[in-house]
């Protein structure tokens, strides 16, 4: 056990865990950020996708020790009121079915749009390639990323 100081959603958070604890379980078990979803634990499904230093990353394959000097943003910290353009587009197009993978999908899409504000379908499919949705919401996800891009353009 050791104490780690993490910067999560703009706040300093102290946790006492083993250093090899995956960041996923730190966020979920220690900090109560359960919007970060466990889906596979080995970086294959994208359900836990969050932002580390502004880039889409998989907390299930990072450790607490790796994460001390990084800025971590989870779905809970993406926007103050749930109105990030991606979140709005997701609601407008009624994307979710069970919804379990959607925090990860939303975070992957938000990271994509932050670096490429007007992605084509190929860029969308590349960025979200390893975010599995078992309900089959992919057609709506693709449309919602395009919609979010338009919302961002209109409001710039």
């Amino acid at each position: 056990m050791a104490r780690y100081s993490l910067r999560v959603n703009g706040e300093r958070r102290e946790v006492d865990v083993e250093g090899d604890t995956p960041l996923l379980w730190v966020l979920r078990d220690e900090l109560g950020l359960t919007g970060v979803k466990y889906g596979c634990g080995v970086g294959l499904c994208g359900a836990c996708t969050s932002h580390v230093d502004g880039e889409a990353a998989r907390p299930c394959v990072r450790t607490a020790a790796d994460s001390v000097k990084t800025r971590i943003t989870t779905i809970e910290g993406l926007s103050r009121d749930g109105d990030h353009p991606v979140q709005r587009a997701w609601r407008e197009l009624d994307v979710a079915q069970c919804g379990y993978c959607q925090p990860g999908q939303v975070m992957a899409a938000a990271a994509l749009l932050a670096r490429d504000p007007d992605p084509d379908d190929a860029a969308i499919e590349e960025a979200l390639r390893d975010n599995v949705c078992r309900c089959g919401s992919y057609p709506r996800i693709r449309a919602a990323v395009r919609r979010a891009s338009r919302i961002m353009r209109e409001e710039r």
Partner: protein, 675 residues
Amino acid sequence: MISRRTLLRGAGIGALVVAVPVPALAAGGLVPNVFVRLDDSGRITATVPRPDTGQGVRTVVALMVAEELAVEAGDVRLEQAHGDTARFGSQGVANSTSVRQLSTPIRTAAATARCLLVTAAAQRWGVPVAECTARDGFVCHPRRGRLPYRAVVRGAAALDPATVPVELTPPEKWRLLGKTRGGRVDARDVVTGRTRYGIDSRPPGGLVAVVARPPWIGAVPDTIDDAAARALPGVVDVLTLTAPAEGQGGVAVIGRSTHQALRGRDALRITWRGGTPTADSRAWLADLRASLPAQSPIDGVQQVYSMPLLAHAPMEPMNATADVRPDGVTIWAPTQDPGSLRTQLARQLGVPAASVRVEATASGGAFGRRIEPDPVLEAVACSQRAGAPVQVLWTRADDMRHDSYRPMSVHRLSAEIGPDGLPIRRAHEVATWGLTVLPIFSNPALVKASGDHFPYTVPGEVSVVVRPAPLRTGFWRSVYAGQFVYAEENFLSEIGKRSGLDQVALRRKLLPAGSRLHKVLDTVADRARWTSPPARGTARGVACLEEYGSAIAVIAVAEPESRRVLRVHAAVDVGVALHPSGVRAQVEGCVIDALSTVLGAQITVREGHVAESSFGDYRWARIGQTPEIDVTIVQSDSPLGGLGELAYPPAAAAIAAAMAGDTPVTSMPFGTDVG
């Protein structure tokens, strides 16, 4: 006991307590029945008697209640029923029944509340009821103005519901039902991460358990050395679980945190005995092939189809949390059937059902897997041992390797062809396994009834051989229809190809006059511009299904050379679509399941265990493989139909037929070795 009603169609299934009058409560509020209530502030609360597994039942219930109470869906607060079947009726999500069975009781419940409110206002004003209407949370009268619901709640509660006539809002006056606007009621919670699934429902102070599961099918622990595990920080206890009373069996490590429990499991030293350490799914397939009768009853065109094992693999792995105390039991679980779960737990623990509370949390997918109670039984055993709330968490590999799989099957189809190239007699011989999670499903007649929905006028016979299942098998979206329809529609396509017939025209010709399928087939053919020849390098496939009280036709367009499916068109008749966006979503989801299972996802068994362990090797479709999906809703006068499973079988058949081009389909996945 798990209940399943596949064969009990028709009236009276899962009958719900409709608008049972409950005496007005002294505490205030209007409680006209068990499904809907208004408190003194006029706030509307509805109880959703089925868990939401992604099929959108919470949204449909909110829409139904809001429609009848003349408010917006967002004005309706939703609660889940906690397994109390005496009050709320069946709570099982199975056989695509939720909307079919809930529509009348829920709408009647809300309409009863509205009629009581309107009557109370009319009495207050001294005007005829017929002059009053409900609108936007008010009762309105052309001259008296309007009263908010909260002002008439008490008056309404004093009325005897039996004396107030109840009328449902007719479809032509619907504002919400059947309309395209409005999405999931829980959408904001989903995209902000606030939705609480089973995995998020561990209470404060709760422990976590993970289970070391048999390394090959049927193995049980022989020797257990848990000293190293117990020495690790945060490991609280280790216990042996006995199947089936405590789930599927294994050794559970209970820890203070998920990571500590996982590390504890890694540190266990277990030897195993028994089971089938050499089992191989290729041998199972060969056994099924050998189980078919030596001779087909028809000497004509013939094709054999092989179907793989499939896992459910919901995004939220199996989990459950139990808090077993002397005075009662609370379960938090993503379950498809809190009612049966509560009954089973009460019996097993020897406690009254009233002391068992099953919180059906949001569920990260289900697809038939969460009808089964095994993760809950594990959690109960762990909580009893620990004397604290315990969450049992399955890793992804646990989930994929210890599922209740869709059975393998082999189908031999034969037909005698008439002079016009159409089949005039057919035979469909099936060899498969039963469903171990519900042993009555080893009855061939039940398997046949679940799978056989051949809609065309070709006389013939369907025969089923059921072999003992060599591993755990269960209900998988569409159950046996997934295999049967895939074989039947691909065989019909094969006959069409051999006879040089148009695939849509031949189906039109073979459908009986008056079939609901004519309309959806014509509609989908229009949408897909069927009469124009396919673009160069593309091929098309067609399939139909009438089942669950609904009808669907699907046309898929693929580019076989690149193994890409370009477009899937579907036309669907569910009677009246109460939530069109939800209807489309269910069809889209089934199309992606079809795409995944036709293009490569299958479970295989080698050296006694399931080879696949995650989404790297269980090759579910990704966004880049997703075709354009075009869903047309065909309204009809038919009663409300079910939809959760309808599109999977014909979508799989149509996609395979399109991918095959001029070659025959012989398996699922298409063009891959099965097993």
